[in-house]
């Protein structure tokens, strides 16, 4: 199953040991606890485990250092702030977009240590110590990356709001599949949605970019 997307599953050990999903799960259980007595015990066990693993950060702001596009950026953030919101609201890197905000649509895709992730589903504190790459770093000295140029040439964008996420997903896909088949493309970038309907252009752009890379 090598053509299934590797993205969104960085095989890494999160520093805090707590993903946003787990965090949500735990807080969800807490919320219903008062109405379901037996769950209280379960909740406290979960919370204790989580605290032990994390060394308990927050709930107030904590210092966070993120390595973004090769530079260390510092901010004071609450632990609940996602990588996406930190990039956009703290560092003005607005290429990654907030659309579904729960790991479905891919508009927020960035790379973490070279792998595509949904930045809305990674906590900023968890992204510390990893190499974060955003769309802003892809074009160099005002020159588009060949993949971006392929998006332009094949009109693989209309409103363009999903485009940065798509470009980053496509980049990670091509890095792992330099000679993609159409079937691999259909699975490999299926973690991103477009509402305007630019998939015909995106398929053509991926084929062009793969060809350009081979010719280079």
């Amino acid at each position: 199953m090598d053509d299934l997307p590797e993205k969104k599953d960085p095989k890494r050990k999160p520093k805090s040991g707590m993903s946003r999903r787990n965090f949500l799960k735990i807080s969800g259980v807490s919320a219903v606890a008062p109405f379901a007595a037996p769950l209280i015990a379960a909740t406290s066990v979960l919370e204790v485990e989580a605290q032990a693993a994390t060394g308990m950060q927050g709930p107030g702001k904590v210092p966070v250092t993120l390595n973004v596009n090769g530079k260390n950026l510092n901010a004071q953030l609450e632990p609940r702030v996602t990588l996406l919101d930190a990039l956009r609201d703290q560092f003005e890197l607005t290429g990654a977009k907030r659309v579904c905000d729960r790991g479905t649509c891919g508009a927020c895709t960035v790379h973490l240590d070279g792998k595509a992730v949904y930045s809305c589903s990674v906590l900023a504190i968890d992204a510390q110590g990893h190499q974060i790459t955003t769309i802003e770093s892809l074009s160099q000295d005002g020159k588009l990356h060949p993949l971006q140029q392929a998006f332009v040439d094949n009109d693989a964008q209309q409103c363009g709001f999903c485009t940065p996420g798509f470009v980053m997903a496509c980049k990670a896909f091509l890095d792992h599949h330099p000679n993609p088949t159409m079937e691999q493309i259909k699975h490999g970038v299926s973690g991103n949605f477009c509402r305007c309907g630019t998939y015909a252009g995106i398929r053509a752009a991926l084929m062009q970019a793969a060809k350009t890379a081979k010719g280079a």
Binding site: K97, V152, C196
Partner: protein, 791 residues
Amino acid sequence: MADNERDYSWPAPEKRSLIGKRLNRVDGPLKAAGKAKYTYDVHPPGMLFGKGVRSPYAHAKVASIDTSAAEKMPGVKAIHIIQGPGSEIQWAGDYVVEVAAVDEPTARDAVRAIKVEYQPLPHFLDDFTEPKNLPEDNGPLSPRDIFNMLDDDDPESTKRAVSAIQQRGIKFQVTPQLVERMKSNEVPEEVIKALQSAPMKEEQKTDSPYQKEAETVKGDPDAAFKQAEVISEGVYGCPVITHCCMESHGSIAEWTDDNHLMVHISTQNISASAPQYFQALSIPAGNVHIHQDHIGGGFGSKFGVDRWDIAAANASKKAGGKPVRHMLERDAELEMAGSRPSFYGRVKVGAKKDGTLVAWESHTWGTGGPGSAGAPQVPYVVNVPAIRRQYVNVRTHTGPARAWRAPSHPQACLITMGALEDLAAKLQMDPVDFLLKNIELTGTRANVYSEELKIASELMGWKQKWRPRGQNGSGPVKRGLGVSIHTWGGRGHSSDCALTLHPDSSVDIKMGTQDLGTGTRTAILMVAADSLGIPMEQIQLNIGDNQYPPSGPSGGSTTIGGVSASTRRASVDALHALFEKIAPALGAQPGDLEAANGKIQVKGNPAKSMSWKNACARLGAQPIQVVGKNPGPGNLIDSGVGGAMMADVSVDTETGIVKMNKMVCVQDCGLVISMKTAESQCYGAMIMGIASTLYEEKIMDPQTGRMVNPTMDFYRLAGIGDVGDLVVHMMTGKGYDERGPIGLGEPPTVSPMASISNAVANAIGVRVPFMPITPDRVLAALNQGANHAAG
């Protein structure tokens, strides 16, 4: 030469240097680089984050609001009551209180800390059940009731309408403007007179969610059905779906002083947003600065300044003018920032054995939420000689409807083309032949449809692939083809184009229009550069700001005609002024000059020329400034297009899964300005249509009155692997080009549901009546078909 004699007409094919070419969109590099700034990306210094308390009830009265705990929270800068105690909530998720705080987590906490008590009221959500046995409506008439009663071909209809007006009265004001409009729409004089003397009556207040509209009768449907040799009856329909713009609705509002408001807003309507702030805040429209560089999708849902936008402006005022950003979160976006009305219908349609259509009868209904659903007109495009139709509007608490690409058309097309396909199957006719047999019933565009159906058939390989129903192989996977035709108006809206030729040879254009991703920027630059004979890169285009001359809202496929025509007129006028300046130096009359290849030259004698740069240098210190307008002199645009669409699907009869193999779109839009972005519109329309056919539905919970799938995991869009092969063919050349550009945003979105659902019916031999065509519905239709055959 006087202005009205000046030749503004589109250049002949051999003279077009850019128009119609396949060029990259001009803002493509910026978007692909992730550097295009959308409203959601705007972050002025000191910006506060706006969030709202939203009603959990679909129908309720606000009983009390306690904001005291939130007010004490550090970081909370403003709290504004949007709907105070006593307000009646009409849909779940509606905003009640606005909060602005220093960061988003704090704003979220503050929203949770506000206590609102509601007095729940009964809600009504069921738009699906057929309204039956409704009492005859004898109440006062609406404009649409009267429209329904009138039939151009039947003088008796005038008499019936006059008598109904006199007996039932009317519930609207007959203003001089309305009279003018009726006259221009050829409403009979007797009807207008009757309206002017008709009694105004209050509509009876009723608890019924149903509004039965006046029946339309054309010809003699009863007699026509008696003559019909084959009659097909069926039920068809599609649910409410949402726009699901990738960039949610919202804005950033900032009071730059006590009486000036700066607004960044995600809108399809730059030039007419400021007056909406005046209505809500009494701030003069001239003091409201509206700006937007890029918009992340609108599709008809972003014409208005919304409740949350006004709330952000109010919160900003309370926070001492600091900018407040309120962009909707995804659940709010899906619950209330745009939905397309549902439409269901029971149809009976009859034909002669040779396929000649004779009669149509339909009972249709649908919901647009608390207001009107727009009453899609059936039969669609194919004007059956004898018709009886009745529509019932269902008022529900599902959230307000908004325009959705080609309002009412996809729904009307689905029901009409579905019923016609079922009739063709009963006649054992190929549905393309059946449409062609009746093509004269489409009226003035019959030739366009015939030509398009021929091209589409070739691109699809229809003749080789099409099989009659029930003959699509013996294996579990059945393959089928479907066809549909559609239309739209799309006349260009009003637009002003301010164009300046500078002595330094640069050119700039300012227009209060917007580019929804349709390629508006690209088209404007192609028209201007082609007209001026200079490269597109030499022209600076500024749009997206209400400080520029106004253009209409981008809706109803009106933008391309509007901005192309105003830009063409501005370019021709500016050139004319330049010609007057330099004609003496070339020893010619201004009328003898033309602009081409970066030069001004004498027509027919390119040797006598002057470079663009030198020509502009002769302007001295004074630039040439002109404003081109639409409407204006010369026939540059038209209205009314035709399109044909075909779908090829495979349906697994064991799992019920529908797979798209291929779709073909053949579309007319007059003169194509920008071929590449025009084709993209068609690709996009097919893909959006695949989603509404196979996946999309705003599912409401009858118990809680809330939408159960306000997330993108459960409100499903089509993915890159779901769409099959897509083929687009634009009609160009003689018969099309000379009409000038006509809008394209709506037409190709109309036929996907009809053509795909017809393909499914062709594949599996039975009709899946309702969208979306989910696996369970396919299996249910197959079971029912089997039972029907057995019983």
